[in-house]
Symmetry: D2
Subunit: 136 residues, 4 copies
């Protein structure tokens, strides 16, 4: 079985994706099956005319990355997302976001992982759950 990537390796893998570069994702922490990722605010993330709230798609992208990298931090290789569900709990006003990704179950062919998205006041603004393919 592949050994889990180091924090440096994982951070590099996260940044290797052009979309993650646009989002500005940065890996803060990685343990087996757990990661913490930040998304620094950008004007392009804003959803509405009044420039008050972040777009749900940005939050879904962060949730996908956090859940996915939690699995990568468990199995040690890249895993495609099979499905993803997001519950938006509060509007996300302008500011940085932070995501905690956590593996719920990791098996030989599938893994389930959760993501919690926090705003700059450390309130949970969304929760996500994703299914990933761990087949090599």
């Amino acid at each position: 079985m592949a050994k889990p990537l180091s924090l440096d390796d994982l951070g590099e893998a996260l940044s290797a994706s052009p979309f993650h570069q646009f989002l500005g994702l940065r890996l803060l922490r990685a343990e087996r099956g757990l990661v913490e990722i930040t998304l620094p605010f950008r004007e392009e993330f804003v959803a509405d005319r009044d420039h008050a709230y972040l777009h749900g798609g940005v939050i879904a992208s962060l949730a996908d990355a956090a859940a996915c990298f939690a699995v990568i931090a468990s199995v040690g290789y890249d895993v495609p997302t099979i499905d993803l569900r997001i519950d938006y709990l509060r509007p996300a006003s302008r500011g940085d976001l932070r995501a905690l990704g956590r593996v719920i179950k990791s098996g030989r062919t599938l893994a389930v992982a959760d993501a919690e998205i926090y705003n700059h006041d450390n309130a949970v603004i969304a929760v996500g759950r994703g299914l990933f393919s761990t087949k090599v």
Copy 2:
């Protein structure tokens, strides 16, 4: 009850969002409870090192926009996303995407809408379903 926005109004509302501007979303068609939206390819959408596939977050963002605007095309005003689910059916290789958004049920407080995402070969690469708040 508010009257549905015109295609021009809806197209403008779609483009008023800075994140939609980054994505380059364009409204192709709008009827009551149905919209068609394109996402022209950009290098920033790519997920992986090898620059072969679009990121799931981009696809989720397009699905959210399509389902959301299908509801807007039904109720006539902006509606926040409550939750969103995406099933990725095939890898989305480089190229433009197209989304069909369709209202399944629209009530006084909640609406459910579906999104189908097509690649440039008109194959469905993902399906999404969202719940939206229609309360005024």
Copy 3:
């Protein structure tokens, strides 16, 4: 590749499950990737004190069976459910239900299928979407 089961075979497979026998599920129609199933009303299905509405768990069970058997009607063998999502659109008042199951995508390892649940007035009361393992 296994050949799809006949309507008789599928109906028998549906009834072989003790839980389906409790539910009283009956197969009305089966084509490749499409099934229609009925759930005749039983007092035990009722959710509330006032005996007015069917329980969401009964509706979820019917949706699971319909989506699952749509996949079975496509691949020709039993498939375990990996995940399931249900949107309840209207309260289901006392009476028989009918479900339409339809395959969205069937691949070598995974299949996605939808279910629509109708009440005795042919109104859609719920929609479901499930992911199934098609690996042999």
Copy 4:
């Protein structure tokens, strides 16, 4: 605001439902926003010909009840399920199940709650997440 029901009140509310009576659901524990419920094994719950595994619909019903009653234990009145998602992590072999329901967010109109389903060996066999209407 209504005061949370007592454990006795909640247990009675749980059993008032004919479908819960069929399932044999019993409330073990209730705190604000948290409940624990058991489902004693019955032959009717079995999914397959070989009588080895419990049906996913039974597990979904238990998850719905646990998440729903966690919300009831927070708001103090009955709440309809808007949508529900279940991830099946392991086959549930014959035996009693136990569910933990936990409120994630409870607001004036909507609440999100999670359910974890354990088998008789205390292994998590499924996780669920539901959205409930808390509007009075």
